[in-house]
């Protein structure tokens, strides 16, 4: 079994040695806090600057234009400039809004989106917390984001925001079903909910990855992967499922009334969820941080930078695919979104789970 101790355990041990006490729960909690903060801080930067920049450049090129190229070389500092702009914008909390909920909602969304990163195995040993129920925790975090969106839509005291948030609830809560079921297939194949264990089971060259494992698993895993990815698009509110914030229908949906950094707190989690869905899809189906040649199981076992490179490579491919899909496809109507979920993805996902169980028993 290739893997290393999750970061928080190592840090807890180091802190315990530093303070000369046993590695009891306060030390472990402190360690987890530090690691979680570090993950968030180190993840916000690439997600924020890189993801947004990538989207704008790529969408520009798809649309026969260049994308940002003025601020910094090749427009690299554009997102920074946008962030500064958002920070200095006037923070408007309009009179008719429910002030407490209005202020609190972005934080819920932000929290939910970024907490999902603490269970993600970026590289051997680079997991913030190796929870036994990793994938379950991740799916739960996606669900909590909905609460923040509903709070935002309701507290804005704006019927269009309300409509957007109602659509969001309908969409995300519905799509959690195929998302969870599709995620169950790798869980059944590996026998564990922990993302680290799932990654470990995919160690080796490309035919060990769950998506095409041993050849015959592909009949379950390929549909499961596609369902997970599609349902993940819906959970991330990306086109073709971007009804909650459909610009041409609802002005800006549930975050119409937000300006300045409050809006930034909605904007950034969108990219965070995009990236985390891509990351979890990579972990579940595409082998996590293992390279396709099998070196991470052999000669480069436990080398953190090798795993990190491959993890981010695969995640970025899925991320770019999300961007391309957004700028190519039109938007689905809400009843079509529901139809696709309940009559399209859900039955197939259930069939995949049953088939996965059968294959596992064989």
């Amino acid at each position: 079994m290739i893997g290393a101790e999750p970061l928080s355990s190592s840090l807890a041990a180091w802190l315990a040695a530093l303070f000369g006490v046993g590695a009891t729960w306060p030390i472990q909690a402190l360690a987890m806090l530090i690691v979680a903060t570090g993950v968030v801080a180190l993840v916000v930067t690439p997600v924020g600057l890189g993801g947004v920049y990538l989207e704008r450049k790529l969408s520009g090129r798809i649309q026969n234009r260049r994308g940002p190229n003025r601020v910094g070389p090749y427009g690299l500092l554009q997102t920074l400039a946008d962030g500064i702009k958002l920070l200095v914008q006037e923070d408007i909390v309009h009179k008719a809004a429910d002030a407490a909920l209005f202020r609190f909602a972005p934080y819920v969304v932000f929290l939910a989106a970024f907490t999902g990163y603490v269970v993600m195995p970026f590289a051997p040993g680079l997991t913030a917390a190796d929870l036994d129920v990793g994938i379950f925790f991740f799916l739960a975090m996606i669900g909590i984001e909905t609460i923040g969106v509903v709070m935002a839509g309701w507290s804005s005291n704006n019927k269009w925001s309300l409509l957007g948030s109602m659509r969001e609830v309908a969409q995300v809560v519905s799509y959690e079903l195929p998302l969870g079921l599709a995620a169950m297939c790798p869980v059944i194949a590996s026998g564990s909910l922990s993302l680290n264990t799932i990654t470990d089971m995919q160690a080796g060259p490309i035919w060990n990855w769950f998506v095409i494992r041993n050849g015959y698993w592909a009949i379950v895993m390929v549909p499961a992967f596609l369902i997970f990815y599609t349902a993940g698009l819906a959970a991330a509110k990306r086109l073709p499922f971007d009804l909650p914030e459909a610009e041409s229908e609802l002005v800006a949906g549930f975050h119409t009334e937000y300006s300045g950094m409050r809006f930034g707190m909605f904007f950034l989690p969108e990219y965070a969820v995009m990236l985390s869905i891509s990351g979890v899809a990579t972990v579940l189906f595409l082998g996590g941080y293992h390279d396709p040649f099998g070196l991470s199981a052999g000669s480069l076992a436990g080398v953190w930078w090798w795993g990190l490179i491959w993890f981010f490579l695969k995640t970025t491919v899925l991320f770019l695919l999300q961007i391309v899909l957004r700028w190519t496809l039109p938007r689905l109507r809400i009843d079509q979104v529901m139809y696709l979920c309940y009559k399209g993805l859900l039955p197939v996902a259930m069939a995949c789970v049953v088939l996965a169980a059968v294959l596992r028993l064989l």
């Binding site: 649309q63 234009r65 019927k159 041409s248 229908e249 039109p330 109507r333």
Partner: protein, 393 residues
């Protein structure tokens, strides 16, 4: 307090949607799709009464762009008045100018030289293509497809540049005058316009691949918001709406003006290969097919462009039209524009009653929107394709 629109309480108006089966008591929402909204294509206010996502009633409230065009035309001389009709349908300005100018020319019996007529045809068809590119792209944008809009604008930009070269304006031209047109075109321009027409035809396939036959787009637009033949005729809706509903009416063929009878072209009439006759997709497809026909007309006109002068009679500042009246209609991109022109022999027109096609088209919104989802309402508004300038004048 019962919500009201224009002084009439909402619940007194005819609500012909039958009571929806309910097991939970829900409230109706009265929304304001305000004058500022990304998909109302201008300053149109629509007051929606919905039950969740189902629209029970959508009442368009117009007048936000009313600029008293007709009153202004009565107070200015003939030459001064033409730019004001440009601003009616600002996306198809040349067609608007033609609408006014034809009526005055008929009443005053002004003859237009052949070269000027052909130039009018060429530029009006180019304007029609530009307008349809905008309309089709905007419809895609409302449906969430951001990219085809920009691809269509790529072609539109080139066409606008050609128009700019001849007329001096990109969007508002003031090119068609009484008795002819202002400026002549060069042979070089003719060559480049022909190349542009070829580009439009070549890129049709791209638009079809990306948007028209996209599965999601078909689901959003086929069978959605059907405006059938009887409704369209009853409301006086003309143009692509009427043609997509199956009525083969096009004033360029039925009552030709400005030498349209010299050209060979077809009128695309619904039903088309997908969707139902009169649905949003048919209206969208009709515009795309019409663009191909427009390029046919332009090419023929460029080939056969006769020599001659471009303005027969110089209508000067103090020109007085003889007393009389005329009613002439022409085919604008969004429908039939007409002018009822009355002259009393003075320096200024006595009455120029302009018919903006979108004025009659938008009245359909109230009728057709009952029972639609909000997403379908957006499809309806996008496919009707109105320009508030000619609704409000």
């Amino acid at each position: 307090m019962t919500p009201s629109i224009q002084g009439v309480a909402l619940n007194q108006r005819e609500a012909s949607v039958p009571a929806l089966p309910r097991d939970i008591q829900t409230e109706e929402l009265v929304f304001n799709m305000g004058p500022q909204h990304p998909s109302t294509h201008g300053v149109l206010r629509v007051v929606l009464r919905t039950d969740g996502e189902v629209v029970l009633e959508a009442q368009p409230l117009i007048g936000n762009l009313h600029r008293c065009c007709e009153k202004i035309l009565e107070n200015l001389t003939y030459v001064q008045g033409v730019p004001y009709v440009d601003r009616m349908d600002y996306l198809g300005s040349l067609n608007m100018e033609l609408g006014l100018v034809l009526a005055v020319e008929k009443a005053a019996a002004i003859e237009v030289p052949k070269r000027a007529q052909y130039l009018r045809v060429i530029l009006c068809e180019m304007n029609r293509i530009a307008s349809h590119l905008m309309a089709a792209g905007q419809f895609g944008l409302d449906m969430g497809a951001f990219t085809p809009f920009l691809y269509m604008f790529r072609e539109r930009e080139e066409g606008i540049r050609l128009l700019d070269e001849v007329t001096g304006g990109r969007l508002l031209y003031h090119y068609i005058r009484y008795g002819g047109v202002t400026r002549d075109v060069s042979d070089d321009w003719i060559g480049r316009t022909a190349v542009w027409c070829d580009r439009i035809d070549a890129h049709m396939q791209e638009y079809n691949d990306l948007l028209t036959y996209n599965h999601i787009f078909l689901n959003r637009a086929c069978g959605v918001a059907i405006i059938d033949k009887q409704t369209a005729l009853a409301f006086g809706a003309t143009g692509p709406i009427l043609r997509a509903a199956g009525v083969g009416r096009d004033l360029r063929k039925d009552m030709p003006y400005s030498s349209y009878e010299d050209f060979e072209f077809d009128i695309p009439v619904g039903p088309f290969d997908k969707g139902v006759v009169g649905d949003s997709w048919s209206r969208y497809k009709q515009r795309l097919l019409e663009m191909t026909q427009s390029t046919r007309i332009i090419r023929q006109a460029l080939d056969k462009l006769p020599e001659g002068e471009i303005q027969h009679k110089k209508v000067t500042r103090g020109w007085k039209a003889p007393a009389g009246e005329a009613y002439v209609a022409s085919e604008a991109p969004r429908g039939e524009i007409s002018c009822y022109f009355v002259s009393d022999g003075g320096k200024k027109p006595y009455r120029c009653r302009m018919r903006g096609p979108s004025f009659f088209n938008i009245a359909l919104l109230e009728e057709t929107s009952r029972g639609l989802l909000i997403g379908d309402l957006i499809a309806l508004m996008g496919s009707i394709d109105i320009t508030l300038g000619e609704v409000d004048r």
